[in-house]
């Protein structure tokens, strides 16, 4: 794990401190002119907890110059601060969060903390309550992992809803709304396990610690819960770079899946985990409409041009089904759950077998993903929160039901090719 990103004076300060109970990482972007209130919020959280604790606050937004950090020591007793430099120019948001996560974990490991809370969401959503809800279950209730649970509109968190959450549920047997966070609370025990794991199996920057937190907890028998955090504000969708986002997130997920193949193949079914805190009701829709036509166009363009590429990854039955679906008129367009689930499983297998370059493989899923969004949007046009939940539950069940397909193809990729 990386401590190199931390400036030398702050590194010396960490050495001097020796140990702490809690490390809080605030990794979200800071808007110009916005004050970083992380130290004040952490101080309030510490006051609310049952025992007096020493905490280290790591900020990703360059708000704390080393001088300020030293000043911070004297101003708020029991709280130390250190800052990470701003991300390098060519770094994507996901890479920058992954690197920052590594550094926070390294600081936590070095200080031997009992708990770690990391908030990577944008700063407007950051509140004292979020830090409290992520670290309190670890410190007071003995949980090892506190995963976030956000209040979302039906068209938010779609990659999570369509792939990450149901795939994680089918593979590792735990029903988490956001297995890749990005906001987490971890126990010292789990943090040390992840630090040790990362140092032994690092394979370049493509491996993301975010993808391995939930799977490590599930496969290692750690106590997992979810915490309701409320509404999370996000960056607006960058449609031009959607394929890069998919490549980064799915690449990390598939790599993690490959590394844990021996464990997930023996897991059957899934279980709910305790959900703490009051959930907030989602705000009513703003009335804006989704560009379903544009998404369908992308899907159809992909179906016309990418058959050769998909043919190297997907079995003939899926290709036939995609061709059929691409000819449907907009009002009848639906991508069946089984087809979508098998597509995701086949892409995971193709990623493992490297049938084509991994970058090509991950980017070529973009039109399929847009097809899924279009199908979901058409289906959920007039749906309320309960219907959305039941729709996602049906999809998650399809992932679980088709796990035997994944296991068969994973074990015998050449022999089992429907």
């Amino acid at each position: 794990m990386e401590l190199d990103a931390i400036p030398q004076p702050e590194l010396e300060q960490i050495e001097r401190i020796g140990g702490a109970d809690l490390v809080v990482g605030i990794l979200g972007d800071k808007r110009p002119g916005e004050n970083c209130t992380a130290v004040a919020m952490t101080s309030e959280v510490l006051a609310e907890l049952s025992k007096p604790l020493r905490a280290m606050v790591v900020c990703n937004n360059g708000t704390h110059a080393p001088a300020a950090a030293v000043a911070g020591d004297s101003q708020v007793p029991g709280i130390f601060t250190c800052s990470l430099p701003p991300p390098s120019p060519g770094e994507s948001q996901q890479q920058s969060i992954s690197n920052a996560y590594r550094t926070v974990f390294a600081v936590g490991g070095k200080l031997g903390v009992r708990a770690c809370g990391v908030i990577a969401s944008q700063s407007p959503t950051l509140t004292r309550r979020w830090i409290y809800r992520l670290v309190q279950p670890v410190l007071d209730l003995g949980f090892d992992l506190v995963a976030p649970c956000y209040t979302r509109q039906k068209m938010e968190g779609l990659l999570n809803r369509s792939v990450l959450a149901p795939l994680s549920r089918a593979l590792y047997g735990q029903q988490l709304q956001n297995p890749m966070g990005p906001d987490f609370g971890l126990s010292g025990k789990l943090l040390q396990r992840i630090v040790a794991q990362e140092s032994t199996r690092r394979r370049g920057a493509e491996r993301s610690p975010l993808a391995s937190i939930a799977s490590t907890a599930a496969c290692g028998g750690f106590q997992v819960c979810e915490s309701n955090l409320g509404v999370r504000s996000q960056h607006p969708t960058d449609w031009e770079n959607l394929s890069s986002l998919l490549a980064e997130v799915l690449g990390a997920t598939f790599l993690e899946m490959e590394g844990r193949a021996a464990q997930w193949q023996s897991i059957r079914g899934s279980q709910t985990v305790p959900r703490l805190g009051q959930s907030e009701a989602p705000q009513p829709d703003t009335g804006s409409t989704v560009d379903i036509h544009g998404m369908l166009e992308s899907f159809q363009l992909g179906a016309r041009n990418l058959q050769d590429v998909w043919g190297l990854i997907l079995p003939p039955t899926t290709l036939l089904e995609l061709r059929r679906v691409s000819r449907l008129p907009q009002d009848q367009f639906r991508l069946p759950d089984q087809v979508w689930v098998r597509i995701v499983y086949d892409f995971a297998l193709g990623h493992r077998l490297q049938t084509i370059s991994r970058d090509h493989l991950l980017r070529s899923i973009t039109p399929l993903y847009l097809g899924w969004i279009a199908s979901y949007a058409l289906e959920m046009q007039t749906a309320g929160p309960a219907e959305v939940d039941s729709r996602i539950e049906r999809l998650s069940k399809a992932y679980e039901d088709n796990k035997s397909y994944l296991v068969s193809r994973w074990r015998w990729p050449d022999r089992f090719n429907p």
Partner: protein
């Protein structure tokens, strides 16, 4: 007179038979060399095939980023492609050894010139192989990228780039072999220019579409700046 004709025929027959007799050892040597080379090629190919299968060569080739190699081999297996290539080279070397066994200046010169030509031939083959792999890789990258950018001309762009790289590789290979001379350069210039023009047109038309779409998006975004972006992924 008939005696003289008979003597002349006998003399020419003796001369021809003695020439054939002088060629026989060479032919025998050529056949022996070919048979020996074929046996050696068969043995080496068998060992090579077994070793490559043992180290899972086909999968490794795909992992090293050369999945296109599988498409050239008749049985879609890089292992068979490599073993057949090695066998062919050994038999060819055996043929050259056999040819040089003939007594005479012509075969020796032929062999010397052939050996001098070999490095150019190998370079040309290498250029063709590398060109084909690069062409396929670039074509696929561009196809996927263009589809993701919603360009209707995605396939045209991809095919254009593939042919651009292939034409370049073939021209370099032919020039290396010293075939054609000026005509090849001229033909390359015309072909390359034609493909670049076609691509420029395609990119121009595609960009027009792209620019108009992004302008439309900007306009709709500014006109509905109060609305929240409805779709989120993570």
């Amino acid at each position: 007179m008939w005696d003289q004709v008979g003597q002349a025929l006998r003399l020419s027959m003796t001369k021809m038979l003695s020439q054939v007799a002088s060629l026989l050892p060479g032919i025998l040597a050529l056949m022996t060399a070919l048979i020996l080379a074929a046996l050696i090629a068969w043995a080496i190919a068998a060992i090579l095939r077994r070793s490559l299968t043992g180290v899972d060569f086909d999968r490794r080739v795909a992992q090293w980023g050369f999945p296109a190699m599988a498409e050239w081999s008749p049985s879609s297996s890089p292992t068979i492609l490599v073993t057949r290539a090695v066998s062919a080279i050994i038999i060819f070397l055996g043929f050259l050894v056999g040819i040089s066994a003939f007594d005479g200046a012509l075969p020796s010169q032929f062999v010397i010139r052939l050996f001098a030509y070999l490095p150019d031939l190998l370079t040309a083959i290498l250029v063709l192989v590398a060109g084909s792999i690069i062409a396929r890789f670039l074509a696929r990258s561009i196809l996927i990228g263009a589809v993701n950018m919603n360009l209707q001309y995605a396939r045209l762009l991809s095919v254009g780039v593939k042919w651009l790289v292939t034409v370049l590789a073939v021209t370099i290979a032919i020039e290396r072999l010293g075939i054609g001379g000026g005509i090849i350069r001229l033909a390359f210039g015309i072909l390359f220019g034609g493909i670049v023009l076609a691509l420029a047109l395609a990119v121009g038309l595609g960009s027009k579409e792209l620019v108009s779409r992004s302008l439309e998006r900007e306009t709709s975004r500014s006109s509905s700046s109060n609305l929240k972006e409805p779709v989120g992924h993570l």
